[in-house]
């Protein structure tokens, strides 16, 4: 079990956003966290990457605690977070956005091989390296955001709503890429999604969050046919 969270509680002021959540994601697996608006999905993901400070509980990655660690240090320990809403810097070029992801890495040869790898994964980015990021389409921006995270050579990739605001066809492409990252590159992925059906289709493991609590954990395909989950979150 590589990402381990036990009894995690997070408060936003007086509001308890995450209430004693425990979960585990094995190495190389893709876990989808689904749930309605305000369930605490984003809060939980931001806690794993160090952006939110939990009030209680434990978190560990590869057997070592990641509690009270800053995001800029966690990325050095292999945890990359793509935050909600196409997290790219519009004023910088595509290439600069990608270089930013690798800015803490020293080895120049590794850098160019990472850049090549990202460009192979997302050929559209390769064609637009010198353009400013704000000239990209929504789907391309999401690819750039994921590409930036890949430049940090992550072992654990945290993705917050990559499908947000994208056309269905583009969503399908993005989900396919995420699935590829999990299967071919063996990156452990935690995917937070409103698009529960799409997320569960590519995931190994599904976690349902409601009002800050875990209400169901199962294999993704088992969750897909679970009548209660279907009625509440999958809409069929």
């Amino acid at each position: 079990m590589s990402l381990n969270i036990s009894n995690l509680t997070i408060h936003h002021g007086a509001i308890c956003a995450i209430n004693s959540v425990s979960l585990a994601v094995p190495t190389g697996k893709l876990a989808a966290i689904i749930g309605s608006n305000g369930a605490g999905k984003t809060t939980l993901l931001r806690a794993i990457s160090g952006l939110n400070k939990p009030s209680h509980g434990k978190m560990s990655w590869m057997g070592e605690s990641i509690l009270d660690e800053k995001p800029e240090n966690l990325v050095r320990r292999g945890i990359s977070h793509v935050s909600e809403g196409k997290s790219v810097i519009p004023e910088l070029t595509v290439k600069e956005n990608l270089e930013l992801g690798a800015i803490w890495r020293r080895n120049k040869n590794e850098l160019s091989s990472s850049l090549e790898q990202v460009v192979t994964t997302f050929p559209r980015l390769g064609e637009r390296l010198s353009q400013r990021a704000d000239t990209l389409s929504g789907g391309e921006r999401q690819m750039l955001a994921i590409g930036r995270a890949l430049m940090s050579k992550p072992q654990l990739l945290l993705l917050d709503e990559p499908s947000l605001g994208l056309a269905p066809l583009v969503v399908e492409q993005i989900f396919q890429k995420i699935h590829d990252l999990s299967t071919s590159m063996r990156i452990t992925i935690v995917l937070v999604e409103q698009n529960a059906v799409g997320a569960l289709k590519i995931a190994d493991l599904g976690i349902v969050l409601n009002l800050g609590k875990v209400v169901a954990v199962d294999h993704a395909d088992a969750l897909m046919v679970n009548p209660a989950v279907r009625a509440a979150y999958l809409g069929y």
Binding site: L51, E72, S83
Partner: protein
């Protein structure tokens, strides 16, 4: 001939305003604070430069010493004062006002401390080269070897700064942290450190502006120097004209201000010295409130 004179004087003064404007922009981009203490920091750096001149006898040692002193002091202010403020006044209307009040207070504090250490009387830094104007076709210009030197050093420093920002990883960190601190942290940038570095660079730029403003005038300075009040006003207004967010804008704003002031002083009336920058600011804000090369309206990230 008078036209050439006016333009050259304007460009020299403008290059000094540009340095000061760059200092404002660097701090604004790092921490979203308008640092009114910048003039006090420049003044303190000038005193540090003065000490270096008296000890080592060389302007060329004094300038880098003043830059280093200015950088260290600015970094200390950011770490000790600004971080504390942000921690304790992070929400509500106070959060918007507190940093500005703090920098205004700091400006007064620096001047008092300077008066306590060095006294209130005029001190003097001699220019490294002559301030006697060049002679062209038998006529003596106001433009002098000193003004030429100021212009060259300023342009070289700006070129170095631009290289730093555009061509290095550190520059990428500085730009990224200014635009999107959270994404930068998630990418592994130590944003707190980068912010302090932004203040330090501003302190160094302000130090050069302070010393050049002094030697470009009559060489005298004191805690109440009107030269430094003018530097504060012009630097700030140049930064706003340039959009407050852009280094290139700061340079354009500074040059523009310097040239316009020179024209008004020489062709209209010298008593308009302090009013002209404000009138220019008002006109620019009416026509282009986002500044000459300001980012699109409403952007605050």
């Amino acid at each position: 001939m008078q036209l050439l004179n006016t333009i050259l004087i304007g460009i020299t003064a403008g290059s000094i305003y540009s340095l000061m404007a760059i200092a404002f922009v660097l701090v604004w981009r790092s921490t979203r604070v308008v640092n009114f203490a910048q003039a006090g920091m420049a003044l303190l750096s000038t005193y540090i430069g003065y000490e270096a001149v008296t000890r080592f006898g060389s302007f060329w040692i004094a300038l880098p010493v003043a830059m280093l002193g200015g950088a260290l002091f600015a970094a200390l202010v950011e770490v000790i004062l600004m971080r504390l403020l942000v921690k304790h006044a992070s929400t509500g209307p106070i959060a918007a006002v507190a940093p500005i009040i703090a920098t205004l207070g700091l400006l007064g504090l620096i001047r008092s401390v300077i008066a306590m250490i060095w006294g209130g009387q005029d001190l003097r830094i001699l220019p490294p080269v002559s301030n006697m104007g060049f002679t062209l076709n038998g006529e003596t210009l106001v433009f002098s070897p000193l003004k030429l030197l100021i212009l060259i050093i300023t342009l070289v420093l700006m070129a170095l700064l631009s290289l730093l920002f555009q061509r290095t990883n550190l520059g990428l960190s500085l730009r990224a942290s200014a635009y999107a601190p959270e994404i930068s942290r998630l990418s592994g940038v130590h944003v707190d450190l980068i912010r302090t570095l932004g203040w330090a660079l501003a302190g160094a730029a302000g130090a050069v502006a302070g010393i050049f403003q002094t030697v470009n005038g009559n060489g005298n300075f004191s805690p109440d120097s009107i030269e430094f009040a003018l530097l504060l006003v012009s630097g700030f207004i140049a930064a706003v004209i340039g959009g407050l967010d852009s280094l290139l804008g700061a340079v354009i704003g500074g040059m523009f201000l310097g040239i316009v002031i020179a024209f008004v002083l020489i062709y209209v009336n010298t008593s308009l010295f302090f009013i002209v920058p404000f009138i220019i600011l008002l006109i620019v804000l009416f026509i282009r409130p986002q500044g000459i090369i300001g980012a699109r309206a409403g952007r605050r990230a």
